[in-house]
Amino acid sequence: MRKRTLTLPNGKVVTEQRSKVPLICAILLVFIIVAMRVTHFSFRTLATNGHQFFVILGAMFPPHLDFLNRVWQPLFDTIKMSFLGSLLGALVAVPLAVLSATNIVKSKLLSGFFKLVLSIMRTLPTIVMALIATFIFGLGTMAGTLAIFIFTVSYVGKLTYEQIESLDMGTFEALESLGLTRLQAFRYGIVPQILPTYLSTSLFSFEGNLRYAAILGYVGAGGLGIILNEQLGWRDYGNVGMILTVLIVTVGLIELISQTARQKLQ
């Protein structure tokens, strides 16, 4: 790339960095065109057929209120699944996060190994986990809880070890030099620093899991997804609308509570 040179009034010559924006835009554009070919994307279909999207949406209104009685049980199942999975996951994440943090564990090999384990756990799609769990543990909430548990361990674990690694280790060293054992130093020097963020991450993952748990039933892993799948299969969109309304209200409420709690924690 050619650089533009400018001569300032005082005789100094400065070179202006060429912007990389046109290059990036060109690469993006090429890739967009390739991706549109691969996925058969066409704006024309979207324009002529777009109204079809609203057919199902329209059929969901008004939601069938008499279906409400059948929604409660699966809804509570979903909440319980995601709560239990998140809680256990967040607890198990702590030792894994400590073992992955390079400033606590001196052996690069050990921390690297645990980081890799967390990464692989995180990349495996939750829905695949749930499906595998249903094969092993049978259909039901157990499979869903397990899938949520594994996802939470990896998610909270990653964010927590990143948090530990970015800590100021001065406090830890100062406490050790005062004569505290490593464990005590960890308890008083590190735990208070990571606890608020850790709790807020766990709450956040609970929020996300709740939304996710609603899908897991689709592969038979318990909760709202089961009746959602069933009603979609029957094409009874009024009932689907009712399920979605309940889900939206619940998720909204829990988000509100958890946001308030998170703001208090910070």
């Binding site: 058969h40 319980k80 709560f83 495996l124 829905i127 094969f135 092993i136």
Partner: protein, 269 residues
């Protein structure tokens, strides 16, 4: 000396009561939630299946993995990348107006409350439901996947965009006003440079997530690597599952590493 330390320590506000309350709530919810889960140890069938799964994943179907036709893992992964990429780009573009309509410093209170509610609704409806709706528009295939991803991306992306918009340094705009800049110049040189780095970083992050979520779309026939994966799992062909999963995990790890580098560079300049 130690008395002074003690004194200083006691001055700190105690969070004990807060944590105690939180602990109590969590314990109560734990007991309540235990009622839903029937803990079932895997029976003989389950243990056998678990063994088969592990064996299958450890000895992947090499023929499928190194197959370069449109049935092979590489093409399917490429298709998945394309779906996630287009979905992210369109989602990010759609998120921009949503984000401005959600920002308290840009629009009056009723407008941003309504938009926020709308975005919560968009975010909460499971992607499967969107998938089914879009299959009606485009027919089954990757096109439906792109449309679904575009819509589901809006929820998170616009929420994160709002934080960036709220953080804009207004002094710069005032200074430009004082210099007599037009509205267009203010947007081009005052607002866009402040937003673009963080916006791109958020978008790249979302691309990561979309790549991971693309498997779900396979359930409703919206293209990508999801449907062959789920088919293989439902018909117990674990060697194929193994080769697809290995491809997927490696791809996601690579993309994540690249995107972390890019985002660090974007945010730190």
């Amino acid at each position: 000396m130690s008395e002074m330390i003690e004194l200083k320590l006691n001055e700190q506000p105690s969070k004990k009561r807060q944590y105690l309350l939180l602990g109590g709530i969590i314990l109560a919810m734990l007991l309540w939630s235990l009622t839903a889960i029937t803990f079932s140890a895997p029976d003989d069938g389950g243990a056998k299946i678990a063994g088969n799964i592990i064996k299958g994943i450890l000895s992947p179907d090499m023929q499928l993995l190194w197959n370069f036709t449109s049935q092979g893992v590489f093409y399917l992964l490429f298709e998945t990348i394309c779906i996630a990429f287009l979905g992210t780009i369109f989602g990010a573009i759609l998120s921009i107006p949503f984000a401005f309509l959600m920002a308290p410093s840009v629009v009056p209170k009723p407008v941003y409350l309504i938009t926020r509610f709308l975005v919560v609704v968009i975010r909460t409806i499971p992607s499967l439901v969107y998938g089914l709706m879009f299959v009606r528009v485009s027919g089954p295939g990757p096109f439906a996947g792109v449309l679904t991803m575009s819509l589901t991306s809006i929820g998170m992306v616009s929420k994160l965009y709002v934080d960036v918009i709220e953080d804009i340094d207004r002094g710069i705009l005032e200074a430009m006003d004082a210099m007599g800049c037009t509205t267009f110049e203010k947007i081009r040189f005052g607002i866009i440079p402040q937003l673009i780095a963080n916006f791109s970083s958020i978008t790249i992050y979302r691309f990561d997530m979309n790549l991971r979520d693309a498997t779900i779309l396979g359930l409703v026939g919206a293209g990508g690597i999801g449907s062959p994966l789920i088919f293989a799992m439902n018909s117990y062909r674990w060697h194929q599952v193994g080769s697809i999963l290995i491809g997927l995990v490696v791809l996601i790890l690579i993309v994540e590493a690249i995107s972390n580098k890019l985002r660090a560079k974007l945010v730190n300049g």
